[in-house]
Every structure is written in C-alpha cells, then in structure tokens.
Amino acid sequence: MTLFPRKLEEWYKTFTKEERNWLIIALIIALIMSTTTLTWHALDREHQVPVETMEVAPDVFMEKAMRFSMEYAGKVIPEGVDIYLAGVQFRWIPKELKLKKGVTYKIWISSGDVLHGFSLLGYDGTVYNVMVMPGMAYAVNVKFDKTGVYEIRCNEYCGLGHQYMIGKIVVVE
C-alpha cells in the first residue's frame, strides 16, 4: 500500500490562491474558538464544569440522601456540610434545600434508578444543567449571592411522571 506516492509540497501547490486562503481562514477560526472557550472557562465562575465524581451504588446513595433529608428537614444547612441530593422516579430527595447566602456548598448529586437531569433555574435567570447518573455521583459546588428561590427540575426523560419532578433551593440570609 503506497500512502504518499507524491511529495507533500507538490500536493499543496495544486490549490488555487482562494482555496488556500479559505482553508487557512477556516482553521484559524477554529483555533480562535478553541482558545476563547478555554479562556472563558478560566474566567467565568458562573458556569464551571464540575470535575469531582464518586462511584456509588444507587441504593447506597439513596440511603445517604434520605438520611440527609431527615436530618436537615426544614433547617438551614450549616457551612461545611456535604449535601446529598438524589433524583428518583419522580421526585428529588430532599425536596427542598435551605442554604445560606454567600456560603459555598458542595452538593453531591446522583440517581436512585434511571438517568435524570439536574436543571437549576433562578428567578434571576440563572440556568445550570448537569446529568444525574445512577452509579456515579457528581459534586457541584454552589454559592448563591442573593436570597430567593431557585427551582430544580428534571430535564432528562426518566419515565411517565418526568414532568412532575420539581425541587427547590431556598437561599436565606
């Protein structure tokens, strides 16, 4: 098998000027886009891609989330406590989280059964979406700068009651 029967530069010369220029422009645009998206990632603190994950069996995680939900039902979650949020057909456990303004929390998110989607929607227009995967927990670090109510919806189809999966984060002083 001959892969390169002719010299490379000979090949390059067979392009017209327009063809060559456009090819180069297209590649430069791609490179600019790649660097901007990386720079943006470094500068934008609002939409970080979470990196921390943990393998965990669905039933184990469910138990953690239930225990957490019982312990902090109706209470403001103190700083430094890891939060466990489970999606399960067709609700969030716990259904509501009370967080303090200006405090950074780590929320472990996972599923008790099928895939779900964690979609956070703030009254201020904040939108943030990550996948909720059974067998794997995702750590999302959040800090809210304003008080108010943020809604959590499931945005990955998980069954016939998918549209009823609504939760809440209430941010207080």
């Binding site: 390169f4 998206t37 979406n129 995702y138 945005n155 549209q163």
Partner: protein, 543 residues
C-alpha cells in the same frame, strides 16, 4: 402504481427505500405535530403523558434514524449506479433491504405497542422490549450490506478507471458510508455488550459505559445524515445553475475532514456527565471546532458557485443574487437548507463550547438546534431532491408544481419561527423531552410566550411538510410518467481529471481516521474501564 416495481432491481431497491422513507417522514411528522400541540400551554389538543413519550420515541426513531437511513440507502444506489455506470452486487442489496425492513418493523412494533418508551437515545438503565434493540441491531447490520455493495462497486469502477479522479458525488457517498461504518461499530458493541444482555437476561449495566459507546456512535451519526445532503448540494446546485462547482478539490477536502474528524468528538455530548475526565471533554471540544471548519469550506464553495452562476447570468456586485433561479424548488430548497445549516452550525458551536453546554444542555434550545440541522439542512434537502427523484427514478410528473415552489419557503419560515422561539425558551430554562411544561403553574411566564410562538412556527412547517408528502404520494398514484426531463440527476457529463495522488486516496484517509479515533477514544475508554464499572440494575417500571 404497479410499474413502480418494474425496471432494474437497483431502481426498485431505491424506490422501495425512498418510498418507505417518505412514509416514515409523514408518520413522524404527524407525531411531531401532536407533541408540539400537547406541550404548548393552553392548547386544546393534548395527548396523555404515556402517548406523548411513546410518540416522542417514534418521532426520534422514525425521523432521525429510519427516514434518514432509508432515504440515504435509496439515494446512494440511485446515484452510484448512474454515475459510476458499473454493476452493483444485487445479492448484497437484497440482504440489506430484507434486514433493514425487518429491523424497522420490529422496532416500530415495539414502539407503537407502547413497549419501548425509552426515546430514540434509549439510555440505560431504562429497559425496553427486546424487539427494540434487536430491531435496531438488524437495521444497522443490514445497512452495512448497502455500504459493502457501494464499496465493491467503487472498487470495480476503480479497476476500470485506474487513473481518473473520483467524481465529487461518489466521493461524498463513499465518505457517507465510511462515516456510517465508523459510527455504527461502537453502537453495535454497545447493543451487544450492554443492551441485549440487559433486555434479554436482566443483566446490570454501567450507565457511563453505555453512554460512552452510545455517543461514540451518536456524533458521527449526525454526519452520516449530513454528508448525503452536502453531496446533493455539491452535485445538484451547480447542475441547476448550469455551471461547474467552484472547487472540486475543496469539496473533497471537506469530505475528508468529515471522514477523519467526525468520530473522535463524541464526548461533546457528555460535557456534563460525571465520571468523564475534564481534559478529555476539552479535547473533544477542540476537535469539534476543527470539524466545524469543514462546514465553512462547504459554505464557501457553494456560495462561490452561486456567485459565478449569477454573474454569468449578468448580475453585478450584488445583482447576481436576484439572477439565481429562486422559483426552482430544488435550487431554492437546497440554498435554504444551507442557510438553515448556518444557524444550526452556530447553535451547535454553542452546544459544544465546553462550559456553555451546561446552560443549554437538555433544554429546548437543543430542539431548536436540531430542527435546523437534521430537521432542515438534511430533511429539506431530501424533500426537494425527491421532486427530482419523482421524475428520474419514479418516472412521474410532479403534480402541483406551483405548490412545490412554495414548499421550501414555507418550511424554512416555519422552522425559523419554531427554532428561534424554542431556543429562547431553552435559554430561559425550559427543558426538552417534557410533556407538560407548565409544571403545575410553577413555570415562568416567559416560557408560555416562547412556546406559543414556537407552536405557530411548528404548525407552519408541518403544513409545508404535508404539502410535500401529498405532492409526492399523489404524483406517484395518479401522475403517470411523461417525458418531462427538467432534471438531470443521473446524467453526469462531468469531465474527470487525472486522479489526485493524495486527495483521491481514500485508503489513506481511512487510515488517518482510524488513528484519530484511537487517539480520541483510547484514553476515555481506558479510564472508563480502569476506574471499574459501577453496575446498576435495569429499570422497566414507570416507563
């Protein structure tokens, strides 16, 4: 009607595939309208939740998977036999037709009887009836035989023409099927290793494993849809205009970029998945942006061709634009498809942009995105090409040609209204794949405005689709062929130059593609398996 099944086997094969594709388009479109109305707040027409997710599965499978595949199979054989003018292996085509039809029927039965409400992405650990997965496997394996038939036909041609360049449309079709093979090997692995054991034996699954193989397939899949559309643009637009394509070489380079770059970028669908290394996510982002440059080459090539034609017809600096044949639906449809693809490309770049993805992921923004890409750039191109196929393949006169002239414009107007509003709703946080978007009255007001406006656009393009389907079916049923050769689809009088030692060297590009796929996927797969699988039981309840 009966003479549809007369003629060479190759043509019968194409007619069956394309006819079946149009039926699927009609059915899927009907589902689309029902979904659209059901999810619009305040609409009087609303199906039940169970029906909604059932027809949503049907919509995705029938349109995105089956309509495209069958149309492409028919189109491939139609074009390759006419352009290459060498025999194609009929036995392979027969096997292909039987397997794909059987697969489609099995999958359709499982969906229509409500045994597979898993959507067209069938994410584990949701479990559907085994027919669904067996049908999918048959569909894919069957389609490989069409690919083999094309490859053999090409090799035969190559033997007879050892030093000619590959005609651009054939280059496009070869690229299409090479990408299809690249795409489907991982999904076959996925189905055999994860889904069939789950569906048949109730075996536990690792969700990340299933998703990684799935999107290893899922991204090149979209290029499998797109490449035949681009092939048609390159082939038919210059023909309608009576000029040469601006640059055959650039066209082939664009196809080469698709062959080598379409696969090692699938992680851009998993940018917000846990368990995938962030650096790999970024790597796939960059590779995706590079494959974007192939689309820019295409746009440049087509636009330069248009300018050449318009100027030849006497247009000036901008005047050439009005000199173009805008009343010709095949021409206007393809140019509108190209423009829609521009918007699809821009939204696509946002989807793939690493952390912007977590703003739009799984929102109705995505619905706006793929109705301009597969839903228009591909579907509209196939629809208007069908007007040509009616005369050249089905030997029919197109009825109501004046309506056919309106169809592409109506479709694109509808799509823009629909997609723009759905995209905006997505930015405001409205999810996709959701039956009731009012969330018991908890949804923001602004969603209602966008969804209602989007519904207006949806109804408009559904109407355009209905016009097309009626024209197609009625032309076949009532309008027996007369000699109206307005169209020169299968009659290329292209001069083929001497072959280019690098560009026309398909073997080389396959080797490069394999190397890049290994580079792009060896680390993700290594990480996936070395961190140990995290098995979870399948779930069939609640679906």
């Amino acid at each position: 009607m009966r003479d549809i099944f007369k003629g060479s086997f190759e043509d019968i094969f194409s007619r069956i595939n394309i006819g079946f594709a149009i039926i699927l388009l009609a059915l899927g479109g009907l589902f689309g309208v029902l979904q659209l109305l059901s999810r619009t707040p305040g609409s009087p027409i609303k199906v039940s939740a169970a029906t909604y997710y059932q027809i949503l599965t049907g919509h995705g499978v029938f349109l995105a998977v089956a309509f495209t595949l069958f149309f492409i199979m028919g189109l491939t054989v139609f074009m390759s036999t006419r352009i290459l003018k060498v025999d194609i292996n009929r036995l392979l085509l027969k096997i292909s037709l039987c397997m794909t039809l059987l697969g489609a029927v099995l999958a359709a039965v499982s969906i229509l009887t409500g045994k597979a409400r898993v959507l067209y992405t069938f994410y584990a650990p949701m479990k559907a009836h085994p027919f669904f997965y067996i049908g999918a496997a048959l569909l894919i394996l069957g389609s490989w035989f069409t690919a083999f038939a094309l490859f053999l036909q090409y090799l035969k041609w190559r033997k007879q023409n050892p030093d000619r360049e590959i005609p651009v449309p054939i280059f496009g079709l070869l690229a299409t099927w090479i990408v299809w093979i690249e795409a489907t090997i991982p999904v076959v692995i996925d189905v055999l290793k994860v889904y069939l054991p789950m569906a048949l034996l109730g075996a536990s699954v690792d969700v990340l494993e299933a998703r990684t193989w799935f999107w290893f397939f899922g991204h090149p899949l979209v290029y499998f849809w797109l490449l035949p559309a681009i092939t048609l643009w390159y082939y038919l637009i210059p023909k309608r205009l009576g000029v040469e394509l601006f640059s055959k070489k650039m066209a082939k380079i664009a196809f080469i970029l698709f062959i080598i770059y379409s696969t090692p970028i699938g992680l851009h669908h998993q940018l917000v998945d846990p368990g995938v290394d962030a650096r790999l996510k970024y790597l796939h982002t960059v590779l995706t942006l590079i494959v974007g440059s192939a689309s820019m080459l295409t746009a440049f090539n087509i636009l330069a061709t248009l300018e050449r034609a318009g100027r030849k017809a006497g247009g000036g600096f901008f005047g050439w634009i009005i000199k173009l044949p805008w009343r010709d639906p095949i021409f206007s449809g393809m140019i509108l498809a190209l423009i829609a693809f521009g918007f699809g490309g821009i939204t696509g770049i946002i989807n793939t942009s690493y952390q912007l993805n977590n703003v739009v992921h799984n929102t109705s923004w995505i619905v706006g995105h793929f109705h301009t890409t597969v839903g228009t750039a591909v579907a509209l191109t196939f629809m208007v090409a069908s007007y040509g196929l009616l005369t050249e393949l089905f030997n029919r006169k197109v009825i109501a040609y004046s309506l056919a002239r309106i169809h592409p414009y109506l479709w694109v107007i509808g799509i823009f209204i629909f997609s723009m509003n759905y995209a905006l709703a997505g930015l405001a946080g409205a999810p996709r794949r959701t039956y009731d978007l009012t969330f018991g009255g908890m949804a923001p007001e602004i969603w209602y405005t966008y969804l209602k406006a989007g519904a207006v656009g949806g109804v408009i393009f559904a109407l355009a689709g209905a016009i097309f389907v009626l024209i197609f079916i009625l032309s076949i049923l009532v309008n027996k062929g007369e000699e109206v050769r307005i169209f020169k689809f299968g009659n290329p009088h292209e001069n083929l130059n001497e072959k280019h030692s690098v560009i026309d060297n398909i073997k080389l590009w396959i080797v490069v593609a394999v190397i890049l796929i290994i580079l792009g996927y060896s680390i993700p797969l290594y990480q996936l398996y070395s961190q140990g699988l995290s098995l979870v039981p399948p779930v069939a309840k609640g679906l």
